[in-house]
Structures are given as structure tokens and as C-alpha cells.
């Protein structure tokens, strides 16, 4: 359709029709949906700032009269909250970093290096996307236990490091890179290491960001594996610490439990709010590239 120059063609009446104010119903529905979907998070945050008598008041009170961090202090007294936060941040940063590096290097080899059984190796990587983690848990648990890795950081970290999804995304991106640039680099005498870091990585920042952010989210939220491997509070991650708090304080002390839940969810929410576009691109990759 080449209706760009003629304002009177049929092509422009359609946008004009669409520009009419959307019906009120649309706005009402949207605001209602936003409130319903957003309320639980808001409710959690507010509850974590309430005093016990405000929490257990009928009818309910939305806003705390005197918001304070008492619940947070109590949560930090019941479980080593600061230590858990440090553990979670450390394991997430190291885990996501290693995952990105492994995926990046593996994809480089699969795309830019000619070696025997390259297709087989790629198939091996891709097929792991179809193997659910559940089936690997019992053998991995016995292996980690026999290595003496229960209650250690490496026990939490290492079994989940292998990168299949990241490798796949990087490979997809590398196949679209202009080969001439890399051939020119090669003629200038650049080796593979230099080609990878000086040419491929700078041309791949959106994919790098997407893989890194998805890895950060999955590492931070990972629950079942660290829950099985660790029962020493000083080695726990935040989601596992939440289980500890739930078991000790139970449902008797909602304010404290919700304060800890805020500590678990707030960092990842902030990452999401700040880097929304890239994170969403990573999480929905695979669906929208087709």
C-alpha cells in the first residue's frame, strides 16, 4: 500500500476511524484489571509495615497508621536475613555470570569453528531443553552428597550451570552477524579469543543482556534445588530462608513473614522495573522470533 502521499485515500480513513476515543468500557476494564493484578503486591508491602493489631483487625485497614520496619527487624532476628541476602546476591551474580560465559563460548564454537561432530554437539545441547530438571534431581542429589557438597555454595551452583537456553539464543544471534567483519578481523591476524571479545561480544549486547537478565531471574528465584541441598541457615538463599521462617513462625506472625517476602521479591521487581524491555525480550524469546 503506497498511500503515504495522498491524505484522501482509503488508507487514511481507517486510522481516522480508529482514532475516535475508545469507549469508557475499555478504560474501566483496564483499570479494574490493573487493580486486581496489582493489589496482592501492594497488600504485601503495606502489611509488612503494619503493627500486629493492625494486621489482625476486622474490618481490614489498608494503610498502616504508623508505618515502621519492626517486622523487618523481627524477621532479621528469626533468620539471618542479611546473610541470606548476601548469599542470594552472590550466587545470582556468579551463577548468571558463569552461565552467560558458558553459553557465549559454546555458541561461538558452534557457529564460528569448524570441528568434527559439530551438528551432533549442537543437537546434544538443544535436546537438554526437553529434559525436565525433575528427572535429574535424585541422581544429582546423590552425586552432590557423595562429593560432600551438601550445604556448600558449589553444591547449589554447579549442577545448574550448564547453559542450553543461553547457548541456543546466542547461536541464533551469531548466525545473523555479518561474516565479512569476522573474516576481515581474521585477515588482520585476530585469533579466536580476540574475535570473540573484540568483535562478536560488542555486536551482541542485546542478546547478552537478555540472557544475563533471564539467568539472574532464574537463579534468584530457584527454589527446589537449593532447598534440597542446604539446611544450614548460613548457606541458604532467600527463598529457602523463607521456608525456614514459615516453619518456625508459621502463620502466627504474618507481618514478619511478609516482611521477609518483600526482601525476597523487591530486588527482582526493581530489576524488572528498571530493565523491563530487555528482560521481557529475554523471557519471551523463542515465542516472538518465529
Amino acid at each position: 500500500m503506497t498511500a503515504t502521499t495522498l491524505p484522501q485515500t482509503a488508507g487514511s480513513t481507517a486510522p481516522a476511524r480508529r482514532r475516535r476515543p475508545p469507549r469508557l468500557g475499555g478504560y474501566v476494564t483496564m483499570i479494574f484489571a490493573t487493580l486486581v493484578l496489582g493489589a496482592p503486591l501492594l497488600w504485601m508491602a503495606l502489611a509488612s509495615l503494619k503493627a500486629p493489631d493492625e494486621l489482625y483487625q476486622v474490618p481490614l485497614q489498608w494503610f498502616p497508621a504508623q508505618p515502621d520496619l519492626d517486622n523487618y527487624a523481627q524477621a532479621a532476628g528469626a533468620i539471618p536475613l542479611g546473610r541470606l541476602l548476601v548469599n542470594s546476591i552472590g550466587l545470582t551474580v556468579v551463577g548468571a555470570g558463569l552461565k552467560v560465559a558458558l553459553g557465549l563460548c559454546c555458541a561461538y564454537a558452534l557457529v564460528f569453528l569448524d570441528f568434527p561432530f559439530r551438528k551432533v554437539v549442537f543437537g546434544l545441547v538443544i535436546a537438554t531443553l526437553m529434559i525436565p530438571p525433575q528427572i535429574t534431581i535424585i541422581p544429582n542429589y546423590t552425586l552432590v552428597a557423595s562429593l560432600g557438597w551438601l550445604n556448600t555454595y558449589q553444591g547449589i551452583l554447579v549442577p545448574g550451570l550448564a547453559s542450553a537456553f543461553g547457548t541456543f539464543l546466542f547461536r541464533q544471534h551469531f548466525l545473523t552477524l555479518p561474516r565479512t567483519v569476522l573474516e576481515a578481523a581474521e585477515l588482520d591476524g585476530a585469533g579466536h579469543w580476540r574475535k570473540l571479545w573484540r568483535f562478536v561480544v560488542p555486536m551482541s549486547t542485546p542478546t547478552l543482556a537478555a540472557v544475563a537478565l533471564v539467568s539472574v531471574v532464574t537463579e534468584w528465584n530457584d527454589y527446589l534445588w537449593p532447598f534440597l541441598v542446604v539446611d544450614d541457615p548460613s548457606k541458604m538463599t532467600l527463598p529457602v530462608g523463607l521456608t525456614l521462617l514459615q516453619n518456625t513462625d508459621g502463620m502466627t506472625n504474618w507481618g514478619v513473614l511478609l516482611a521477609a517476602t518483600v526482601v525476597v521479591t523487591l530486588p527482582i521487581l526493581l530489576v524488572f522495573l528498571v530493565l523491563q524491555r530487555r528482560l521481557v525480550a529475554g523471557l519471551t524469546a523463542g515465542a516472538v522470533t518465529g
Binding site: A33, L37, L102, T128, V264, T284, G290
Partner: protein
């Protein structure tokens, strides 16, 4: 387990320096070239080992080895940590098929899966249609809707447990506004299962909506205009033009949601621990209970294999479907 099958890789153009022997060369030249090529191939292999080796090694040790070992474990009567095991062949599988709890677990899994997948698809499409309209502030709505998807399932379970608290929760308050007494969400069947389903919907709705939104934005406007010119109502256009064009998106989401729903664990662990009386124990949850609560690792491996086969069947259907090229208009 991740689905990526709708993505189509462009065919690998092959390595740039796969030496094709040029004709009409003198013998020494050809010899030198082939020696050079052999050297290059060796360097490439070394670099491949260095770069891809660590990742492949980790995959072999922590994915493929346990996969094979799990199949072997499923033929044993073996308790976690026990030094002795007894070979029972297919005994564990036979036990699963005849166990009195199996029927209930399969039914719970079916209800949970159908409700969460179906619900997320329908509500997600509705939300996507809403967000596809030119409404002010729809960016905020999209952010709020997607936010739960990035949160951990365990934390989400805890926060919703408070929402559902029959005495002090927000939901009993809202139900009270319309004069409904709060059901016993924690204890009275079928409410614990309903509760877990609601939470799962809340967490995944934004993802479904976002994928649908991308699909909707790819529907050509002239097709919708043409339908409108033909006098089709909005509902008719949706049914006869938009939805058929969204078939590939729908199929992708159906498979992705099925796989993720069949593997959900964290939220159930936080909210109900599979109870009360096993009423929220899905197939996935039963694997955890058998292996790490009851310690029956051999039997649990058999159940894990059964779940694996179910997931594999879902994926196989998807691969078949994708191969019969879905056509976009």
C-alpha cells in the same frame, strides 16, 4: 524445560574456511595448502574443546548422566542414602499403576493443568485484546500484569497465603463486601486446589497476554478493515479473522503453559505442601514427596520417568505440528 520450537534457525551457512581445494595447483603448493588446512583444523578443534568443552561437560555430568541413572534407579527398590538396593525390574511402574493414590494424583494433576492452562489462555487473550486497544496508560497495565511472572513461585505462594487468610485476608474482606462468607481456603476441599490454581493464573497471566499481544500486533490491519467493510461485527472479526491468524501463537502458548504447569512445584510447596489429605498433590509434587519425604528414591524415579514421558509426548506433538508449517496470512 523450555520450549523454543516455533523459533526456526536459519540453516547454518557452514564455516567460512572449510578449505575447498582449488584446481590447477602445482604439487608442492597443494601439499603446503593441505598441511596449512590440517593445522587450521587442529587449531579449530582445540579452540572448540576450550570454548564448548566446559558447557558440554557440565551438560553430560548434570543432565545426561542423571537422565540415564534415573532410568536405572527406577528399576530398583532403593531408599535415598541407603547402601543397598534390590532390582525389581518394572516393579515400581506396576506399583504406580496399581497404587490406590495414583487415581487421585492423576485427577488432581488433570484438574490443575486444565484449569491453569485453559484459564491463563482465555484470560491472557482477553487481557491482550484489551491492551491492544489504544488506551492511555496501557503501558502501566502491561507492567503490572507482567510483574508477577518474574517473581519466585515460593514467595508468591506465601504472599497469596495471606491474601486467602479466612479471617484477616483481603479476599475474605472483598467477599464480605458482596455478602459472601469466606470459604475455608486452607482446609475445606476443594478450596486449597482452587487457591493454588488462582495463584498460578495470577503469576502467568501477564506472560500469556504479552505473547498474545505480540501476535495481535502482527495481524495486518487491512484484513481487519476489510472485515469491517464487509459489515462484520468486532466479535465476528475476532472469531473469523484474528483468532485463526493467532493459531501458531495459541499452539505455542498451549505447549509452553502445559509444560510449565505440569512441572509446577514451588507455589504448591509454599501454600499447601500437597495437602490437606493429598488434595493438592500433583504428579510433580508426588515425586518430591516420594523421594525426599518418604525416601523411596527408586519408586520416585519411576514416577519421574512417567512424568518425563508425558512431557516428551507434549513436546513431540509440538514438533510435529511445527513441521507442518503453520501458515500466516
Amino acid at each position: 524445560m523450555t520450549t523454543i520450537a516455533t523459533t526456526r534457525a536459519p540453516e547454518d551457512p557452514g564455516a567460512p574456511h572449510a578449505g575447498s581445494a582449488a584446481p590447477e595447483r602445482t604439487e608442492p603448493q597443494r601439499l603446503r595448502r593441505s598441511r596449512l588446512a590440517a593445522g587450521r583444523r587442529r587449531t579449530a578443534l582445540l579452540w572448540a574443546l576450550l570454548l564448548a568443552g566446559p558447557n558440554i561437560a557440565l551438560l553430560l555430568v548434570f543432565v545426561y548422566r542423571p537422565l540415564v541413572e534415573s532410568l536405572y534407579l527406577s528399576t530398583l527398590q532403593w531408599n535415598l542414602g541407603s547402601p543397598t538396593a534390590r532390582f525389581v525390574g518394572l516393579g515400581n511402574y506396576v506399583e504406580w499403576f496399581t497404587a490406590p493414590t495414583t487415581g487421585r494424583i492423576v485427577l488432581t494433576t488433570l484438574v490443575f493443568t486444565v484449569a491453569t492452562v485453559g484459564g491463563a489462555m482465555v484470560l491472557g487473550l482477553g487481557l491482550a485484546l484489551l491492551l491492544n486497544r489504544r488506551l492511555r496508560g496501557r503501558g502501566i497495565a502491561r507492567t503490572v500484569a507482567f510483574a508477577p511472572y518474574v517473581l519466585g513461585g515460593f514467595a508468591v505462594g506465601i504472599l497469596w497465603l495471606f491474601m486467602f487468610d479466612p479471617r484477616y485476608g483481603l479476599i475474605q474482606e472483598l467477599l464480605g463486601w458482596v455478602g459472601i462468607a469466606s470459604p475455608q481456603w486452607y482446609t475445606g476441599r476443594p478450596w486449597p486446589l482452587v487457591m493454588v490454581i488462582v495463584v498460578y493464573l495470577w503469576k502467568n497471566l501477564g506472560y500469556v497476554a504479552l505473547i498474545y499481544l505480540a501476535g495481535l500486533q502482527a495481524v495486518p490491519q487491512d484484513l481487519k478493515d476489510a472485515a469491517a467493510l464487509d459489515g462484520a461485527s468486532a466479535a465476528r472479526t475476532l472469531r473469523s479473522v484474528v483468532l485463526p491468524l493467532l493459531t501458531p501463537t495459541t499452539f505455542f502458548l498451549l505447549v509452553t503453559m502445559l509444560l510449565s504447569s505440569l512441572q509446577s512445584f514451588d507455589t504448591i510447596k509454599a501454600m499447601t505442601q500437597g495437602g490437606p489429605l493429598g488434595s493438592t498433590t500433583t504428579l510433580m509434587y508426588s515425586i518430591y514427596v516420594e523421594s525426599f519425604v518418604n525416601g523411596r528414591a527408586g519408586y520416585a524415579s519411576a514416577v519421574a520417568t512417567i512424568l518425563f514421558l508425558v512431557l516428551l509426548a507434549v513436546t513431540a506433538v509440538q514438533l510435529r505440528f511445527v513441521q507442518q508449517k503453520v501458515h500466516y496470512a
